[in-house]
Each structure stands twice: as C-alpha cells, then as structure tokens.
Symmetry: C2
Subunit: 235 residues, 2 copies
Amino acid sequence: MSFASKGMAATAQDEAYRAILQDIRSGRYQPGERLIPETIARELAMSRMPVREAFQRLANEGLVLIRPNRGCVVSGLTIEEIYELFEIRSVLEGLAVRLAMPRFDAAALAELDDHLVRMHRAGAAGGADWLGKHQEFHAYICGLSGRPKLIARIAALHIAVEPYMRVWLHHVAQPAHATERQDEVVEAIRTGDAEHAEAVMRDHVLRTAPRLAEFLRSRGQAAGALSTLPASAQI
Amino acid sequence: MSFASKGMAATAQDEAYRAILQDIRSGRYQPGERLIPETIARELAMSRMPVREAFQRLANEGLVLIRPNRGCVVSGLTIEEIYELFEIRSVLEGLAVRLAMPRFDAAALAELDDHLVRMHRAGAAGGADWLGKHQEFHAYICGLSGRPKLIARIAALHIAVEPYMRVWLHHVAQPAHATERQDEVVEAIRTGDAEHAEAVMRDHVLRTAPRLAEFLRSRGQAAGALSTLPASAQI
DNA sequence: CTTTGTAATAGTGGATACACTCATACAGAA
DNA sequence: TTCTGTATGAGTGTATCCACTATTACAAAG
C-alpha cells in the first residue's frame, strides 16, 4: 500500500484533496501548472470552496504554492530543494530503521525479502510499478518503527519527489532497481546492529539524489516544468 | 527572532492563522480545547471562512485536529508523541548542525557565544523569556545550514512542543538553563568535527525529552489538558 | 514599430445563506 | 429509577454571491 493514504473521503473537501494529490503525484498536473479552483470544482462536481480548502492542505505539504490574489500553482522543486528533501529523508529513514530494529524478527525479515522480490519483479517487468514497490519497501521498514508522526513525515517526502522520480524512471532504460542495492539495507538490518543499519539506510537514501539531480539537470527540468509551459506559469 | 514567522499578514486567512497559532503557542488555547470558527471570526472581525482555512493549515502542522462534522480541537500530545517529536527533532537538528559546520567561522562562533549569554541572562532573570532565547539559539544554528525546508520543519517541531515546554518551565523553580548544557553543543561545534557536532546535538535535543515527560506524567497532563477540561473535549 | 495607457475579463478572497449532522436535554415508557 | 426516543439548538460543510485584484488585449501616442 506504499505511502498512499487509505479510507474513503468523508467530505467533499477530502475528495478534492485526494483527487488533486493523485493528479500531482501521477504527473497529470505538472510543476508550474496553475490550478484553477472553478475548473477542478466542475470536474469533481462540487463548488470551488472545498477545492480551495484542499489547496490549503496541499500548500502546507509544499506540493502547491498559493500566492495572495495570484492563485495556486503546482510547486516545482529546484535541484537544490530535491537534494534537501533527500537529505531530510535520509536522516528520518535512518531514525526509522534504527527504531524498527528490535521488531525485526524472522517473520519481518522474511517479509522484507518478499518486498525485495516484488521490487525486482516489478523492475524486470518493465519498471512501470517499480516506484510503487520501492515505496512499499520503505514504508514497510518505517512502519515497524511504530512512530506514526515519523512515518507520516517520511511519506510526505516520498510524495514530494514522486513526480520527478516518475519521469526519471520513465526515461532511463533500466530503472534504478539494478543499481539501487536495496539488499544492502536488508543485509544491514540482518546484522542486528542498529547504528550500522541507520548508517546504511542514510547512505542508501542519499545515493539516489545525485543521480536524479543529474538526470533533471541534463533535461533542464526541475524547478520549472516537466514539460514546456508558459514563462508566466513558472515559480 | 526564534522560530516566529515574520512579515505582515497579506490576507484575512493569514491573519487568522497567525492569531490562532499565537494563542496555541502561548497556551491561551489549551490542548483538547475546541475551537469554534464563528467565535474566533467575530473576535478577529471577519467571517468564519478564512478562519476555517486557517484551521486547515494548523491541522496539517499537527497543531489542531479536524474531524468531519465534529469540529476543530487543539491537539493534545501524548507523552509518546512528545517523545517522538523530540526524536525527530534530534535527527533533523543533528543534520542541520552537520550541514552548518562549514559556515562556522570566528564571527559565527562569537554570535553563538552571544546567544549563550542571552540565554543565561534570561534564565537568571526569572526564566520568563528563556524559552524564546533557547529557540533563537537553535534557530541560529539551523539557519546556518542554509536549508530552508529543513529549517521550516525544525521550527514546526519547536512550535508543536512549545505549550508543554512553557508550562514545564513555568512550574519548575530553575528553568532548564542550569542543566541543559548548551555549551556542550557550542564546544562540539568549535572542534570543527561535523560528525561529532551532529552526535552532540542529537544527544542534547533528546536529553530534554525524558525530563519534560516526567514532569507531564507527574502532573497527569499531556494528551489531555494543561488544565481541567470536560471529558468530551478530550481527543 | 514600440511604448504606454485603458478597458475588458478571468480569477481570487471573503461574506452570507442554507441544508445537514451531531450533541444535548428532556419526556415518556419500562 | 433507568432507559430510550425525540426535539431542539449549536455547529459544520458547501453553494452562491459580491467586491476587488491582476492580467490580458487592445488602442492611441510617441
């Protein structure tokens, strides 16, 4: 179930939130693109008030930028910002795995191996859902930390970079699964040494950043658009 | 200027946000207390719509809890949750100080000493503003990391526990300044060893948690109320 | 042709109105 | 008395409306 939030939308506002979030994660709404409440409201068959409130939530998660009287745009991340998010994620996931260590019994380790298999299979099958499996892998480890607020923060970070990861994985022939070496993380967990596992997880998370950054730099993307957009729509 | 956000409120919604945030931080609105949009709107001479949108922002920062059709309450933290926030803060501030290390020149170190002096002075003068000075100290170090998103996240964590810190410091005779040993952090920074500084900062942040927790436990607070509240208002 | 001022339009923030939900109090039945 | 059903009121969620802002297109002046 990766980092997707579950449950049904109880209110129209919640429905709007989920719909917009989904469209940002999937890349339908691209960085720099302006979101017009009226349009989205019509699409979802509601008034623009719940949509506006959904914007607020998204803005607080950094997924969208609202400037007074100037509307709401999907926030593009600069390469520096993407780096920063990976840095933050590295220490948070490092913390998570350290806290999770006591809970890694034989069953949990077996499940971890299952995750590796699923990831590998998804990668071999073209990589379309590799990202999802990868997030599930991380979510499983973080989940064992038993720290809800920590988990929520890590999930938010995964979501923030997801659109960029998506184009990256879509454009490279073999997705990162070949080089990402998740098994190093599992191996470190297996040693039982919490400090070591934390250090390995940190490295593991950070290792992705420069390669993603390089890809985005080569395409001149990030901070602006995943596709061509009018200059006025830029951040 | 500690972790307070600056600038004027451009919009009514922003004004509402700042006002409510201030009242939560200061302890005027206490954990478990229900916030009624109409009332607050009247106080601020606006309609309840911008107040509702301010609620959304506060909810995303975890300061407030909104349940559909059941209104908005100031979220009380359990002792476990407070621990968790300190854990998160420890790794984030550890990261911040590590990243800040290259920027600690003589001038920065001198400023750091100034912060220590100001904190000590505030502590000696009764400790009323010790908390503010303490936050400024941390904010200064984090600021040197040059990582805006990291800084914002740390600031949010400081704010989340501020109400609890406030009652604690108000009830103990000598505020933490005597035992907190901030100078250990400064000393570690002075060595120039980034790894060491990170480790010391982590310890420093974590050290506060058990003592705050013990205090709250002794008063039977946290998770509920800083004062007596009807059971129906509990989380 | 470029620049500058102006009008038109799209879009935003906020207020109000209305329907619905929830909680409480109270009355009647067991 | 205790329990249960109902009524009442407070509060919430959403739609609609209005005033204001910003942007764009266009026209007149240079």
